[in-house]
Protein backbone atom coordinates (compact mmCIF):
# COMPACT_ATOMS: atom_id res chain seq x y z
CA UNK A 1 0.00 0.00 0.00
CA UNK A 2 1.18 3.49 -0.70
CA UNK A 3 2.05 6.20 1.74
CA UNK A 4 -0.73 8.22 3.23
CA UNK A 5 0.72 11.64 3.75
CA UNK A 6 -1.65 14.16 2.35
CA UNK A 7 -0.18 17.33 3.80
CA UNK A 8 -3.49 19.18 3.96
CA UNK A 9 -5.13 16.67 6.31
CA UNK A 10 -4.47 15.66 9.91
CA UNK A 11 -2.87 17.67 12.67
CA UNK A 12 0.60 16.09 12.51
CA UNK A 13 0.85 16.02 8.74
CA UNK A 14 1.00 19.78 8.57
CA UNK A 15 4.32 19.75 10.41
CA UNK A 16 6.99 21.28 8.23
CA UNK A 17 9.56 18.70 7.21
CA UNK A 18 7.28 15.69 7.51
CA UNK A 19 7.35 14.99 3.79
CA UNK A 20 11.14 15.35 3.74
CA UNK A 21 11.47 12.99 6.70
CA UNK A 22 9.27 10.38 4.99
CA UNK A 23 11.29 10.58 1.77
CA UNK A 24 14.58 10.22 3.68
CA UNK A 25 13.08 7.47 5.82
CA UNK A 26 12.13 5.45 2.78
CA UNK A 27 15.77 5.43 1.69
CA UNK A 28 16.84 4.17 5.13
CA UNK A 29 14.05 1.58 5.04
CA UNK A 30 15.20 0.25 1.66
CA UNK A 31 18.75 -0.08 2.88
CA UNK A 32 18.28 -1.56 6.35
CA UNK A 33 14.75 -2.86 6.81
CA UNK A 34 13.22 -4.05 3.56
CA UNK A 35 14.71 -7.59 3.51
CA UNK A 36 12.97 -8.66 6.68
CA UNK A 37 9.95 -6.37 6.86
CA UNK A 38 9.31 -6.39 3.07
CA UNK A 39 8.48 -3.54 0.68
CA UNK A 40 4.81 -3.65 1.68
CA UNK A 41 5.61 -3.76 5.41
CA UNK A 42 3.99 -7.20 5.54
CA UNK A 43 6.95 -8.95 7.17
CA UNK A 44 7.43 -12.71 6.85
CA UNK A 45 4.99 -15.06 8.60
CA UNK A 46 6.54 -16.69 11.68
CA UNK A 47 9.88 -14.97 11.06
CA UNK A 48 9.76 -11.18 10.84
CA UNK A 49 6.82 -9.14 12.10
CA UNK A 50 4.67 -6.94 9.88
CA UNK A 51 4.77 -3.17 10.38
CA UNK A 52 1.10 -2.77 9.50
CA UNK A 53 -1.13 -1.46 12.27
CA UNK A 54 0.77 -3.26 15.01
CA UNK A 55 0.73 -2.04 18.59
CA UNK A 56 4.49 -1.47 18.56
CA UNK A 57 4.48 0.63 15.38
CA UNK A 58 1.48 2.77 16.35
CA UNK A 59 2.07 2.82 20.11
CA UNK A 60 4.66 4.41 22.38
CA UNK A 61 7.33 6.31 20.48
CA UNK A 62 9.92 5.53 23.16
CA UNK A 63 9.28 1.78 22.90
CA UNK A 64 9.54 1.89 19.14
CA UNK A 65 12.75 3.96 19.19
CA UNK A 66 14.19 1.54 21.74
CA UNK A 67 13.52 -1.45 19.47
CA UNK A 68 15.52 0.16 16.67
CA UNK A 69 18.33 1.22 19.02
CA UNK A 70 18.64 -1.99 21.01
CA UNK A 71 16.91 -4.71 19.01
CA UNK A 72 14.22 -7.18 20.05
CA UNK A 73 14.20 -10.94 20.43
CA UNK A 74 11.71 -13.64 21.41
CA UNK A 75 8.90 -11.18 22.13
CA UNK A 76 5.40 -11.95 20.84
CA UNK A 77 3.83 -9.11 18.88
CA UNK A 78 0.05 -8.87 18.94
CA UNK A 79 -0.10 -12.56 19.95
CA UNK A 80 2.08 -13.76 17.09
CA UNK A 81 5.54 -15.32 17.47
CA UNK A 82 8.46 -14.34 15.23
CA UNK A 83 11.66 -16.36 15.23
CA UNK A 84 14.18 -13.95 13.74
CA UNK A 85 15.74 -11.33 16.00
CA UNK A 86 15.58 -7.61 15.32
CA UNK A 87 19.21 -6.40 15.31
CA UNK A 88 20.28 -3.45 17.46
CA UNK A 89 20.85 -0.60 15.00
CA UNK A 90 21.88 2.05 17.55
CA UNK A 91 25.49 2.01 16.41
CA UNK A 92 24.57 1.68 12.72
CA UNK A 93 22.02 4.48 12.33
CA UNK A 94 22.22 8.15 13.37
CA UNK A 95 19.41 9.82 15.35
CA UNK A 96 18.07 11.57 12.26
CA UNK A 97 18.04 8.31 10.24
CA UNK A 98 16.10 6.52 12.99
CA UNK A 99 13.66 9.44 13.22
CA UNK A 100 13.16 9.41 9.46
CA UNK A 101 12.69 5.68 9.06
CA UNK A 102 10.22 5.49 11.94
CA UNK A 103 8.31 8.48 10.59
CA UNK A 104 8.20 6.72 7.22
CA UNK A 105 6.95 3.47 8.78
CA UNK A 106 4.34 5.25 10.90
CA UNK A 107 3.00 6.94 7.76
CA UNK A 108 3.16 4.03 5.29
CA UNK A 109 1.49 0.64 4.74
CA UNK A 110 -1.83 2.09 5.88
CA UNK A 111 -0.37 3.43 9.13
CA UNK A 112 -1.12 6.94 10.29
CA UNK A 113 0.75 8.09 13.37
CA UNK A 114 2.72 11.10 14.47
CA UNK A 115 6.24 11.83 13.26
CA UNK A 116 9.30 11.01 15.34
CA UNK A 117 12.04 13.62 15.66
CA UNK A 118 15.80 13.24 15.98
CA UNK A 119 15.55 14.98 19.36
CA UNK A 120 13.19 12.24 20.59
CA UNK A 121 15.61 9.56 19.40
CA UNK A 122 18.48 11.36 21.10
CA UNK A 123 16.57 11.51 24.37
CA UNK A 124 15.78 7.78 24.35
CA UNK A 125 19.37 7.02 23.44
CA UNK A 126 20.65 9.08 26.38
CA UNK A 127 18.37 7.19 28.79
CA UNK A 128 19.77 3.85 27.67
CA UNK A 129 20.82 1.72 30.65
Amino acid sequence: MGMKNNSSKGNFQSQPGLQKSIVSGKIVFKKYCISCHQADGGGVPNMNPPLIQTSFVLGSKDTLINIVLNGLKNVDIDDETYNNPMPALGTVLKDQQIADVLTYVRNSFGNKASAISAAEVKEVRSKKK
Binding site: I34, C36, Q38, G42, G43, N74, N83, P85, F109
Partner: protein
Amino acid sequence: MKKSIFYGSLITVVTFCIFSFTKISSLQSGHLPKVNSDNAGLTLPAGFNASIVADHLGEVRHIAVTKEGDIYAKLGGAKNGKGILFLKNNNGSLEEQNGFGDYGGTAMRINGGYLYASSNTTVYRYKLNENDEVIDPSNPETIVTGLLDRGEHNSKSVTFDNDGNIYVNIGAYSNSCQVQDRTPGSMGRPGCPILDSAGGIWQFKADKADQTYGDGTHYAIGLRNVVGLDWNHQDNSLFVMQHGRDQLHDLFPQYYTDKESAILPAECMYEIHKGDNAGWPYIYYDQIQKKQILMPEYGGNGKKTSDKKYLNPVIAFPGHLAPNDLLFYTGNQFPEKYRNGAFIAFHGSWNRSPEPQAGYFVVFVPFKDGKPTGKWEIFADGFAGIKDIASPGNAQHRPCGLAQGPDGSLYVSDDVKGTIYRISYHK
Protein backbone atom coordinates in the same frame (compact mmCIF):
# COMPACT_ATOMS: atom_id res chain seq x y z
CA MET B 1 0.48 -12.13 9.55
CA LYS B 2 -3.19 -12.32 8.84
CA LYS B 3 -3.20 -8.58 8.40
CA SER B 4 -0.66 -8.78 5.64
CA ILE B 5 -3.12 -10.76 3.55
CA PHE B 6 -5.75 -8.09 3.92
CA TYR B 7 -3.31 -5.34 3.05
CA GLY B 8 -2.07 -7.18 0.01
CA SER B 9 -3.27 -6.38 -3.46
CA LEU B 10 -6.98 -6.24 -4.05
CA ILE B 11 -6.70 -9.08 -6.54
CA THR B 12 -5.13 -11.29 -3.91
CA VAL B 13 -7.89 -10.51 -1.46
CA VAL B 14 -10.65 -11.19 -3.96
CA THR B 15 -9.04 -14.44 -5.11
CA PHE B 16 -8.63 -15.47 -1.49
CA CYS B 17 -12.30 -14.87 -0.76
CA ILE B 18 -13.54 -16.84 -3.75
CA PHE B 19 -11.15 -19.65 -2.95
CA SER B 20 -12.15 -19.81 0.71
CA PHE B 21 -15.82 -19.81 -0.10
CA THR B 22 -15.47 -22.73 -2.50
CA LYS B 23 -13.57 -24.85 -0.05
CA ILE B 24 -15.81 -24.13 2.90
CA SER B 25 -18.79 -25.21 0.78
CA SER B 26 -17.08 -28.48 0.05
CA LEU B 27 -16.28 -29.05 3.69
CA GLN B 28 -19.85 -28.54 4.77
CA SER B 29 -20.84 -31.69 2.90
CA GLY B 30 -18.91 -33.64 5.53
CA HIS B 31 -16.27 -34.85 3.10
CA LEU B 32 -13.09 -33.17 2.07
CA PRO B 33 -12.89 -32.22 -1.60
CA LYS B 34 -11.56 -34.96 -3.81
CA VAL B 35 -10.98 -33.69 -7.32
CA ASN B 36 -11.01 -30.40 -9.08
CA SER B 37 -10.66 -29.98 -12.78
CA ASP B 38 -8.03 -27.24 -12.90
CA ASN B 39 -5.24 -29.24 -11.23
CA ALA B 40 -5.93 -27.26 -8.05
CA GLY B 41 -4.32 -24.24 -9.67
CA LEU B 42 -0.97 -26.01 -10.13
CA THR B 43 1.16 -26.29 -13.25
CA LEU B 44 2.47 -29.83 -13.78
CA PRO B 45 4.28 -31.86 -16.46
CA ALA B 46 2.07 -33.51 -19.11
CA GLY B 47 0.18 -36.54 -17.86
CA PHE B 48 0.11 -35.42 -14.23
CA ASN B 49 -2.88 -34.02 -12.44
CA ALA B 50 -3.43 -32.56 -9.00
CA SER B 51 -6.36 -32.32 -6.65
CA ILE B 52 -6.90 -30.83 -3.24
CA VAL B 53 -7.67 -33.64 -0.82
CA ALA B 54 -7.88 -31.53 2.35
CA ASP B 55 -8.03 -27.84 3.04
CA HIS B 56 -8.08 -25.20 5.78
CA LEU B 57 -6.34 -27.52 8.22
CA GLY B 58 -4.07 -24.82 9.69
CA GLU B 59 -0.31 -24.49 9.50
CA VAL B 60 0.48 -27.98 8.13
CA ARG B 61 4.21 -28.71 8.23
CA HIS B 62 5.20 -32.32 7.43
CA ILE B 63 2.73 -35.07 6.60
CA ALA B 64 2.65 -38.88 6.54
CA VAL B 65 0.36 -41.05 4.40
CA THR B 66 -0.43 -44.60 5.56
CA LYS B 67 -0.83 -47.70 3.41
CA GLU B 68 -4.60 -47.25 3.79
CA GLY B 69 -4.41 -43.73 2.33
CA ASP B 70 -5.03 -42.00 5.67
CA ILE B 71 -3.06 -38.84 6.38
CA TYR B 72 -1.36 -37.60 9.54
CA ALA B 73 -0.58 -33.87 9.42
CA LYS B 74 1.69 -32.02 11.87
CA LEU B 75 0.72 -28.46 12.68
CA GLY B 76 3.33 -25.76 13.36
CA GLY B 77 1.26 -24.61 16.31
CA ALA B 78 -1.40 -26.68 18.09
CA LYS B 79 -4.95 -25.65 17.22
CA ASN B 80 -7.54 -26.14 19.98
CA GLY B 81 -4.93 -28.21 21.79
CA LYS B 82 -4.38 -30.53 18.82
CA GLY B 83 -1.00 -30.49 17.08
CA ILE B 84 -1.51 -33.62 14.95
CA LEU B 85 -4.50 -34.07 12.65
CA PHE B 86 -5.74 -37.46 11.44
CA LEU B 87 -7.62 -37.62 8.14
CA LYS B 88 -9.24 -40.98 7.50
CA ASN B 89 -9.69 -42.25 3.97
CA ASN B 90 -13.29 -43.26 3.37
CA ASN B 91 -13.57 -44.52 -0.21
CA GLY B 92 -11.46 -41.69 -1.53
CA SER B 93 -12.83 -38.94 0.69
CA LEU B 94 -10.85 -37.85 3.70
CA GLU B 95 -12.71 -37.36 6.96
CA GLU B 96 -11.09 -35.48 9.79
CA GLN B 97 -11.01 -37.56 12.98
CA ASN B 98 -10.03 -36.48 16.50
CA GLY B 99 -6.69 -34.75 16.58
CA PHE B 100 -4.11 -35.30 19.30
CA GLY B 101 -0.65 -34.17 20.52
CA ASP B 102 -0.94 -30.79 22.26
CA TYR B 103 2.29 -29.38 20.79
CA GLY B 104 3.30 -27.56 17.63
CA GLY B 105 6.24 -28.78 15.59
CA THR B 106 7.29 -30.10 12.21
CA ALA B 107 8.17 -33.80 11.86
CA MET B 108 5.57 -36.38 10.81
CA ARG B 109 6.88 -39.75 9.64
CA ILE B 110 5.84 -43.40 9.85
CA ASN B 111 8.58 -45.92 10.56
CA GLY B 112 8.53 -49.49 11.85
CA GLY B 113 4.92 -49.48 13.00
CA TYR B 114 5.12 -46.11 14.75
CA LEU B 115 4.12 -42.54 13.94
CA TYR B 116 6.97 -40.14 14.80
CA ALA B 117 6.28 -36.47 15.52
CA SER B 118 8.40 -33.61 16.79
CA SER B 119 7.89 -30.48 18.81
CA ASN B 120 10.69 -27.90 18.66
CA THR B 121 12.53 -29.68 21.48
CA THR B 122 11.33 -33.29 21.51
CA VAL B 123 10.73 -36.30 19.26
CA TYR B 124 7.76 -38.50 20.19
CA ARG B 125 6.40 -41.72 18.76
CA TYR B 126 2.95 -43.32 18.81
CA LYS B 127 2.39 -47.04 18.29
CA LEU B 128 0.15 -47.88 15.33
CA ASN B 129 -2.25 -50.82 15.01
CA GLU B 130 -2.42 -53.05 11.92
CA ASN B 131 -4.55 -50.37 10.18
CA ASP B 132 -1.94 -47.69 10.91
CA GLU B 133 -4.16 -46.00 13.49
CA VAL B 134 -2.60 -44.55 16.63
CA ILE B 135 -3.46 -46.87 19.53
CA ASP B 136 -3.02 -44.45 22.42
CA PRO B 137 -3.00 -40.82 21.25
CA SER B 138 -2.61 -39.43 24.79
CA ASN B 139 0.51 -41.38 25.71
CA PRO B 140 3.31 -41.10 23.19
CA GLU B 141 6.75 -42.44 23.98
CA THR B 142 9.40 -39.71 24.26
CA ILE B 143 12.32 -40.76 22.08
CA VAL B 144 14.58 -37.68 22.14
CA THR B 145 14.17 -34.67 24.39
CA GLY B 146 15.95 -31.53 25.59
CA LEU B 147 16.95 -30.32 22.12
CA LEU B 148 17.74 -26.62 21.76
CA ASP B 149 14.95 -24.20 20.88
CA ARG B 150 16.05 -20.58 20.84
CA GLY B 151 13.46 -19.42 18.34
CA GLU B 152 15.49 -19.09 15.17
CA HIS B 153 15.65 -22.34 13.11
CA ASN B 154 13.98 -24.31 15.87
CA SER B 155 12.08 -26.93 13.85
CA LYS B 156 13.18 -30.56 14.26
CA SER B 157 12.73 -32.86 11.26
CA VAL B 158 13.49 -36.58 11.24
CA THR B 159 14.31 -39.50 8.98
CA PHE B 160 15.41 -43.12 9.46
CA ASP B 161 18.02 -45.54 8.15
CA ASN B 162 17.62 -49.34 7.83
CA ASP B 163 19.56 -50.06 11.01
CA GLY B 164 17.20 -48.73 13.67
CA ASN B 165 18.51 -45.17 13.81
CA ILE B 166 16.66 -41.87 13.66
CA TYR B 167 18.33 -38.70 12.35
CA VAL B 168 17.28 -35.35 13.80
CA ASN B 169 18.29 -31.92 12.54
CA ILE B 170 19.06 -29.23 15.11
CA GLY B 171 19.19 -25.85 13.38
CA ALA B 172 21.62 -23.10 14.37
CA TYR B 173 19.98 -20.34 16.39
CA SER B 174 21.73 -17.76 14.23
CA ASN B 175 22.10 -16.61 10.63
CA SER B 176 25.89 -16.66 10.37
CA CYS B 177 27.23 -16.93 13.94
CA GLN B 178 27.83 -13.18 14.16
CA VAL B 179 28.65 -11.66 17.56
CA GLN B 180 25.41 -9.69 17.03
CA ASP B 181 23.02 -11.84 14.98
CA ARG B 182 21.86 -10.21 11.72
CA THR B 183 23.58 -6.90 12.56
CA PRO B 184 25.37 -5.06 9.72
CA GLY B 185 29.14 -5.52 9.90
CA SER B 186 29.17 -7.71 13.03
CA MET B 187 31.92 -10.32 12.70
CA GLY B 188 31.75 -14.07 13.34
CA ARG B 189 32.19 -15.53 16.81
CA PRO B 190 35.62 -17.22 16.93
CA GLY B 191 35.33 -21.01 16.92
CA CYS B 192 31.55 -20.68 16.54
CA PRO B 193 30.28 -22.13 19.86
CA ILE B 194 26.80 -22.77 18.44
CA LEU B 195 28.17 -25.84 16.66
CA ASP B 196 28.53 -27.86 19.87
CA SER B 197 24.77 -28.26 20.27
CA ALA B 198 23.14 -27.06 17.02
CA GLY B 199 23.85 -26.48 13.34
CA GLY B 200 24.06 -30.19 12.57
CA ILE B 201 22.45 -33.62 12.43
CA TRP B 202 22.28 -35.96 15.40
CA GLN B 203 21.73 -39.72 15.24
CA PHE B 204 19.74 -41.51 17.96
CA LYS B 205 18.19 -44.95 18.41
CA ALA B 206 14.71 -44.95 16.89
CA ASP B 207 13.29 -47.22 19.63
CA LYS B 208 15.00 -45.97 22.82
CA ALA B 209 13.13 -43.70 25.22
CA ASP B 210 14.29 -40.41 26.74
CA GLN B 211 17.52 -39.89 24.84
CA THR B 212 19.18 -36.48 24.71
CA TYR B 213 22.42 -35.00 23.36
CA GLY B 214 24.78 -37.27 25.34
CA ASP B 215 22.98 -40.44 24.22
CA GLY B 216 23.21 -39.70 20.51
CA THR B 217 25.94 -39.34 17.91
CA HIS B 218 26.81 -35.92 16.57
CA TYR B 219 26.52 -37.26 13.03
CA ALA B 220 27.31 -34.19 10.89
CA ILE B 221 28.29 -30.59 11.65
CA GLY B 222 28.37 -27.27 9.85
CA LEU B 223 24.76 -27.40 8.59
CA ARG B 224 23.05 -24.08 9.32
CA ASN B 225 19.47 -25.33 9.20
CA VAL B 226 17.98 -28.45 7.67
CA VAL B 227 14.22 -28.92 7.43
CA GLY B 228 14.04 -31.51 4.61
CA LEU B 229 16.02 -34.72 4.94
CA ASP B 230 15.53 -38.28 3.67
CA TRP B 231 17.33 -41.59 3.56
CA ASN B 232 18.33 -42.80 0.11
CA HIS B 233 17.82 -46.57 0.09
CA GLN B 234 19.67 -47.11 -3.18
CA ASP B 235 23.03 -46.12 -1.76
CA ASN B 236 22.04 -46.38 1.89
CA SER B 237 22.93 -42.85 2.96
CA LEU B 238 21.47 -39.66 4.34
CA PHE B 239 20.63 -36.67 2.14
CA VAL B 240 19.78 -33.25 3.56
CA MET B 241 18.69 -29.88 2.18
CA GLN B 242 20.35 -26.94 3.89
CA HIS B 243 18.76 -23.51 4.24
CA GLY B 244 21.72 -21.30 3.34
CA ARG B 245 22.54 -18.04 5.06
CA ASP B 246 20.57 -14.84 4.55
CA GLN B 247 21.32 -11.17 3.91
CA LEU B 248 24.82 -10.96 2.41
CA HIS B 249 24.10 -7.47 1.03
CA ASP B 250 22.31 -6.20 4.14
CA LEU B 251 25.19 -7.20 6.40
CA PHE B 252 28.18 -6.65 4.09
CA PRO B 253 27.14 -4.20 1.36
CA GLN B 254 30.82 -3.45 0.60
CA TYR B 255 31.17 -6.97 -0.86
CA TYR B 256 27.75 -7.82 -2.28
CA THR B 257 25.22 -5.99 -4.44
CA ASP B 258 21.56 -6.59 -3.71
CA LYS B 259 21.31 -8.55 -6.96
CA GLU B 260 24.17 -10.88 -5.92
CA SER B 261 22.62 -11.23 -2.50
CA ALA B 262 19.30 -12.29 -4.07
CA ILE B 263 20.84 -15.45 -5.54
CA LEU B 264 23.74 -16.21 -3.16
CA PRO B 265 24.60 -18.44 -1.47
CA ALA B 266 23.32 -21.72 -2.94
CA GLU B 267 20.66 -23.76 -1.22
CA CYS B 268 22.59 -27.03 -1.05
CA MET B 269 21.70 -30.68 -1.13
CA TYR B 270 24.36 -32.69 0.70
CA GLU B 271 24.93 -36.41 0.91
CA ILE B 272 25.96 -36.93 4.50
CA HIS B 273 28.18 -39.55 6.01
CA LYS B 274 29.15 -39.78 9.65
CA GLY B 275 31.63 -37.06 10.60
CA ASP B 276 30.99 -34.78 7.62
CA ASN B 277 31.33 -31.02 8.00
CA ALA B 278 29.44 -28.81 5.54
CA GLY B 279 31.27 -25.69 6.68
CA TRP B 280 28.69 -23.33 8.20
CA PRO B 281 29.42 -20.63 9.39
CA TYR B 282 32.93 -20.45 7.92
CA ILE B 283 32.10 -20.96 4.25
CA TYR B 284 29.17 -20.94 1.89
CA TYR B 285 28.84 -22.52 -1.54
CA ASP B 286 28.70 -20.09 -4.48
CA GLN B 287 26.85 -21.80 -7.33
CA ILE B 288 28.07 -19.24 -9.91
CA GLN B 289 31.80 -19.53 -9.11
CA LYS B 290 31.24 -23.19 -8.19
CA LYS B 291 33.43 -22.74 -5.11
CA GLN B 292 33.38 -22.75 -1.37
CA ILE B 293 33.69 -19.07 -0.43
CA LEU B 294 34.84 -17.72 2.92
CA MET B 295 31.99 -16.06 4.81
CA PRO B 296 32.41 -12.28 5.17
CA GLU B 297 31.96 -12.71 8.93
CA TYR B 298 35.18 -14.76 8.91
CA GLY B 299 37.29 -12.55 6.66
CA GLY B 300 35.72 -13.25 3.26
CA ASN B 301 34.93 -10.70 0.57
CA GLY B 302 32.84 -12.68 -1.90
CA LYS B 303 35.92 -14.10 -3.65
CA LYS B 304 38.33 -15.47 -1.04
CA THR B 305 38.21 -19.20 -0.56
CA SER B 306 38.90 -21.05 2.66
CA ASP B 307 42.15 -22.92 3.33
CA LYS B 308 40.17 -25.63 4.98
CA LYS B 309 37.95 -27.63 2.62
CA TYR B 310 34.50 -28.76 3.56
CA LEU B 311 31.90 -31.11 2.11
CA ASN B 312 30.79 -30.14 -1.40
CA PRO B 313 27.09 -30.16 -2.26
CA VAL B 314 25.54 -32.81 -4.50
CA ILE B 315 23.31 -30.12 -6.02
CA ALA B 316 23.46 -26.33 -5.63
CA PHE B 317 20.14 -24.53 -6.09
CA PRO B 318 19.68 -20.74 -6.27
CA GLY B 319 19.71 -18.96 -2.92
CA HIS B 320 16.92 -18.41 -0.40
CA LEU B 321 14.33 -20.79 -1.90
CA ALA B 322 13.96 -22.51 1.50
CA PRO B 323 13.79 -26.29 0.96
CA ASN B 324 11.39 -27.60 3.59
CA ASP B 325 11.10 -31.25 2.61
CA LEU B 326 12.94 -33.91 0.61
CA LEU B 327 11.53 -37.21 -0.64
CA PHE B 328 13.16 -39.94 -2.72
CA TYR B 329 10.40 -41.40 -4.86
CA THR B 330 10.11 -45.18 -4.59
CA GLY B 331 6.67 -45.66 -6.15
CA ASN B 332 5.70 -47.24 -9.45
CA GLN B 333 2.91 -44.89 -10.54
CA PHE B 334 5.08 -42.12 -12.00
CA PRO B 335 7.03 -42.72 -15.26
CA GLU B 336 10.43 -44.40 -15.19
CA LYS B 337 12.44 -41.17 -15.01
CA TYR B 338 10.94 -40.33 -11.63
CA ARG B 339 11.85 -43.61 -9.92
CA ASN B 340 14.39 -43.13 -7.12
CA GLY B 341 14.57 -39.41 -7.97
CA ALA B 342 14.34 -36.57 -5.45
CA PHE B 343 11.33 -34.31 -4.92
CA ILE B 344 12.01 -31.13 -2.97
CA ALA B 345 9.36 -28.82 -1.54
CA PHE B 346 10.63 -25.24 -1.64
CA HIS B 347 8.76 -23.08 0.85
CA GLY B 348 9.78 -19.92 -1.04
CA SER B 349 12.12 -17.03 -0.34
CA TRP B 350 11.84 -13.93 1.80
CA ASN B 351 15.25 -12.22 1.59
CA ARG B 352 15.60 -11.43 -2.11
CA SER B 353 14.35 -7.81 -1.92
CA PRO B 354 14.26 -5.73 -4.04
CA GLU B 355 14.10 -8.67 -6.49
CA PRO B 356 10.81 -10.58 -6.54
CA GLN B 357 10.58 -13.53 -4.18
CA ALA B 358 11.12 -17.01 -5.66
CA GLY B 359 10.57 -20.67 -4.93
CA TYR B 360 7.08 -21.65 -3.74
CA PHE B 361 7.30 -24.78 -5.91
CA VAL B 362 8.15 -28.48 -5.89
CA VAL B 363 11.29 -29.48 -7.75
CA PHE B 364 12.34 -32.84 -9.19
CA VAL B 365 15.89 -34.16 -9.70
CA PRO B 366 16.46 -37.53 -11.44
CA PHE B 367 18.71 -39.88 -9.44
CA LYS B 368 20.20 -43.31 -9.90
CA ASP B 369 22.08 -45.21 -7.21
CA GLY B 370 22.18 -42.10 -5.06
CA LYS B 371 23.68 -39.82 -7.73
CA PRO B 372 21.85 -37.15 -9.73
CA THR B 373 21.58 -38.12 -13.40
CA GLY B 374 20.24 -34.84 -14.74
CA LYS B 375 19.45 -31.21 -14.00
CA TRP B 376 16.79 -30.15 -11.53
CA GLU B 377 13.45 -29.04 -12.93
CA ILE B 378 10.34 -27.42 -11.53
CA PHE B 379 7.77 -30.20 -11.12
CA ALA B 380 4.80 -28.41 -9.56
CA ASP B 381 4.35 -24.65 -9.57
CA GLY B 382 1.60 -22.15 -8.90
CA PHE B 383 1.13 -22.74 -5.17
CA ALA B 384 1.44 -19.01 -4.44
CA GLY B 385 -1.58 -18.29 -6.63
CA ILE B 386 0.02 -15.08 -7.95
CA LYS B 387 2.70 -14.49 -10.57
CA ASP B 388 4.91 -11.84 -8.98
CA ILE B 389 5.45 -12.54 -5.32
CA ALA B 390 6.62 -9.22 -3.90
CA SER B 391 6.23 -10.34 -0.31
CA PRO B 392 5.91 -13.84 1.23
CA GLY B 393 2.70 -12.81 2.97
CA ASN B 394 1.03 -12.52 -0.44
CA ALA B 395 1.50 -16.22 -1.24
CA GLN B 396 -1.75 -18.14 -0.86
CA HIS B 397 0.04 -21.45 -0.33
CA ARG B 398 3.63 -22.45 0.43
CA PRO B 399 4.84 -26.03 -0.08
CA CYS B 400 6.20 -27.44 3.17
CA GLY B 401 5.86 -31.23 3.35
CA LEU B 402 5.98 -34.22 1.01
CA ALA B 403 4.71 -37.79 1.31
CA GLN B 404 4.24 -40.73 -1.00
CA GLY B 405 0.85 -42.42 -1.05
CA PRO B 406 0.30 -46.20 -1.21
CA ASP B 407 -0.55 -45.97 -4.94
CA GLY B 408 2.57 -43.93 -5.70
CA SER B 409 0.82 -40.53 -5.73
CA LEU B 410 2.76 -37.58 -4.31
CA TYR B 411 1.19 -35.55 -1.51
CA VAL B 412 2.23 -31.94 -0.86
CA SER B 413 1.27 -29.96 2.24
CA ASP B 414 0.97 -26.18 2.56
CA ASP B 415 1.53 -24.30 5.81
CA VAL B 416 -0.30 -21.08 4.92
CA LYS B 417 -3.88 -22.35 4.69
CA GLY B 418 -3.36 -26.00 5.43
CA THR B 419 -4.08 -27.39 2.00
CA ILE B 420 -2.99 -30.92 1.08
CA TYR B 421 -2.52 -31.64 -2.63
CA ARG B 422 -2.37 -35.06 -4.24
CA ILE B 423 -0.46 -35.31 -7.51
CA SER B 424 -1.02 -38.38 -9.69
CA TYR B 425 0.06 -39.62 -13.09
CA HIS B 426 -2.31 -41.07 -15.66
CA LYS B 427 -1.15 -42.52 -18.94
